[in-house]
Symmetry: C2
C-alpha cells in the first residue's frame, strides 16, 4: 500500500478570480453540465458518463475541467488515479455575492 497522496491541483487565489474568466468558463453548454453535476455533489472521478457528458472524449472532459479550475470555479484534489472536484462556493460568493446561487437556480434541466 503506497502513501496516499493528497495534492491540490493549481488554482487561482481568491482575490485573483476574474469575472471575465469565470463567465468565459461558464459560456459553454458542456461546462454548464459539469457545473450542474458538481453542484449536485458528484465529486468522484471524471468519467464522461457519470458527469452527464457521455458523448465526449475523456480528454475533452479533462480539458473542460482544467478551464473551470483555472477560472477559479472549482477545486481539485488529486488522490491516486482519481480527481475529487468541488465548487469553490465560499470563494465565489465572497468575490461575486449571489452570482453562483442565481446561476445554479437558472440552470436548465
Amino acid at each position: 500500500m503506497s502513501e496516499a497522496e493528497n495534492e491540490w491541483l493549481p488554482q487561482p487565489d481568491v482575490d485573483d478570480i476574474e469575472l471575465v474568466k469565470v463567465l468565459q468558463a461558464l459560456a459553454d453548454p458542456v461546462r454548464l453540465s459539469l457545473l450542474k453535476a458538481y453542484a449536485a455533489g458528484k465529486r468522484f472521478n471524471c468519467s464522461p458518463e457519470e458527469l452527464g457528458v457521455a458523448h465526449l472524449h475523456k480528454s475533452t472532459v479533462s480539458h473542460h475541467m482544467k478551464i473551470m479550475r483555472e477560472a477559479g470555479l472549482t477545486s481539485t484534489r488529486a488522490v491516486g488515479r482519481n480527481r475529487y472536484v468541488q465548487l469553490r462556493r465560499d470563494d465565489l460568493d465572497a468575490r461575486f455575492p449571489g452570482l453562483l446561487d442565481s446561476l445554479l437556480k437558472s440552470l436548465p434541466d
Copy 2:
C-alpha cells in the same frame, strides 16, 4: 420634417432567452464594458467614445451590441440615425432571478 420612426430591432422573446447565450454574450471584456455603460443609463447613441471603448472601430461596437441584443440582454429602439439601448432588467430578472443584480455588483471598476 419626416415622420419620426420608432422601430424596435429584433430580439428574442422573454421565454426564449437562453442562459448559455447570455453567458456567451457576457464572456467578453468589451461587452462587460457596454453592460456597465448601459446599467449606468447611457442609452443614447453608440459612439465608441461615449461607451468607454474608444479604442474600437464603430463596426466592432455595432457587432457587440448586436450580440447582446440577440442574446436577450438589451433592447434597442431605432429612431432616425440613433439607437436607444437599454438593459432588459425585468425580463432578465424574470428568467434568471438575481443574476443581473449580482453581475452588476461584481463588475470591475
